[in-house]
Symmetry: C2
């Protein structure tokens, strides 16, 4: 199957990339610069694609800053919240309609490439906070992907019912170099260890019983 993978350079999407590749799929990777503080993730995305020999496009959306305004991930006036990733305080890390935007652009590229669809790494741990990771949103996108072009496109979401710990366990099996993935939303030199996504990352390694190679601040 030929797929465009939405690839942030984070832990989940890197495991997804390794999984799809080990299954023999033909892949193109698409990342986005939407003005996120943790642009650092794109370096990891670039390096991992290069190492795997997978074509990689970084889409520049910085000319659409007003679209992405008001999120703690993009707004320099807002502080990235610390705490548990399922806390209500994590709502400030929602980026307006991010997944529909990414999926629509990935689907466009899939049409251009004559690929069969797109893949992204939404997982069960995201459901609490992020509306655009929930199963009913995903099903809706799967529907419109069948209607937007002359041929029906697929939206492949293999981690939909998996926890992040299960993704870490799968990544360990696949030999994913976790050290070459980036999660932290704060945008420093090292993972802060305290923001929602760092807490989730740490916890996932502990629960999975996999050694966490991440250097936290």
């Amino acid at each position: 199957m030929s797929l465009v993978v939405i690839y942030s350079g984070g832990l989940d999407s890197t495991v997804l990339l390794y999984q799809l590749r080990s299954a023999g799929q033909s892949l193109h990777c698409l990342s986005f610069n939407y003005g996120q503080k943790h642009l650092r993730e794109l370096n990891f995305a670039h390096d991992n694609c290069l190492a795997l020999g997978i074509p990689h496009l970084i889409g520049d959306l910085t000319g659409l800053a007003p679209v992405f305004a008001g999120s703690a991930l993009t707004d320099r006036e807002l502080v990235v919240p610390e705490g548990h990733y399922q806390d209500q305080s994590m709502r400030s890390t929602v980026v307006p309609n991010r997944n529909m935007i990414m999926l629509s652009l990935a689907l466009g590229w899939a049409v251009s490439l004559q690929a069969e669809g797109v893949a992204y790494a939404a997982h069960a741990g995201d459901h609490a906070i992020y509306p655009d990771c929930r199963p009913n949103f995903v099903r809706g996108m799967q529907e419109v992907a069948k209607l937007c072009d002359y041929q029906q496109l697929e939206v492949v979401v293999p981690f939909m019912t998996m926890s992040k710990a299960e993704i870490v366990a799968l990544g360990a099996d696949l030999g994913v170099p976790f050290i070459n993935t980036w999660s932290c939303y704060v945008g420093g030199e090292l993972h802060c260890g305290k923001c929602g996504t760092c807490v989730e990352r740490r916890e996932a390694f502990v629960v999975a019983g996999v050694v966490d190679p991440t250097r936290y601040q």
Copy 2:
């Protein structure tokens, strides 16, 4: 109602803008540079928004050229086809997943603005060729717009069952300055008069019985 209008500077979306404004809606306009040959349309979009005092954002998607590749509207190697707009030859003017991309970005901006939804000018004449203007696609997008954020967003499509001639008649009633709208896909100084969208534009004025102020080549 507060809406983000997807506004190309073309005839249909200019009539839509006038209609929504005359109905007292609070509007923001969003246009896109996706590398279209007829970039000229954006000047009309800019001027009309300025004249109406409506905030206007032109989103730069030129960094995503591979996504929009393979269309006669973006590819300098491909010739924009002449003929009737419902001919199969017009398929080459389809831009990959354009409407989902535009809608998703407009919905994102609507979330940031705390607006209630988005509007776009898909009409019945588009259904023959463009999958992403058809009623079932629109209904699908209306579904996902209700699921992508904490609040449900609307996708408003007032021209869904109208012909272009009916849109011209409505525009005449609303005092739309048709001369300040751009349709032609070719990208010359004047409307070519022969491409699908020029043929459709000309025909719509004739059928509506409205004087066509357009200068064709």
